[in-house]
Symmetry: C2
Subunit: 95 residues, 2 copies
């Protein structure tokens, strides 16, 4: 089972890449903006397959070319290594 | 260009199918719950392709097996025929 991050500095590289801490909740969030809907949903599709493969799923919303993502681990009630792994993968897929 | 619905009774069949009017905004919304993430995102993928084909896109969010959809037409600042068409298609894809 996932455990809450002990070493919060593990988040620093993500915070440098546009991820932010969510107010009032142990979670991280990021807004991705793509060229258009096809690019946005194409990215979501690739990220969705990775999420399923990792067994860890995002909270996310999409309006046309914008995707808002929030990551947290419900099992442990906060940010875990799984969130870091999925966030890194999402960033890589968006490059 | 899309025009706001004149005949609001055109919404009745959707309201009977679980769509609701959004408070404080001329929009309709519905929550779909699927068996799991694969089913939820699979449905989103089919709906996304239809949205692109219709040239009309949803505001939607997904958490695991749940998808919340809001439809409105930004061009006309309210619900139009395009929203009815996309809502009907989404319901058909979810059957």
């Amino acid at each position: 089972m996932a455990e809450k991050l002990n070493d919060r500095s593990a988040l620093d590289p993500l915070l440098a890449q546009g991820w932010e801490l969510v107010d009032g909740r142990d979670a991280i969030c990021k807004t991705y903006v793509f060229a258009n809907f096809i690019a946005a949903f194409g990215w979501m599709t690739r990220a969705a397959i990775w999420a399923e493969k990792l067994g860890h799923h995002p909270e996310w919303s999409n309006v046309y070319k914008t995707v808002d993502v929030t990551l947290t681990t419900h099992d442990c009630g906060g940010v875990s290594d799984l969130d870091i792994k999925l966030a890194q993968k999402m960033d890589a897929l968006a490059e």
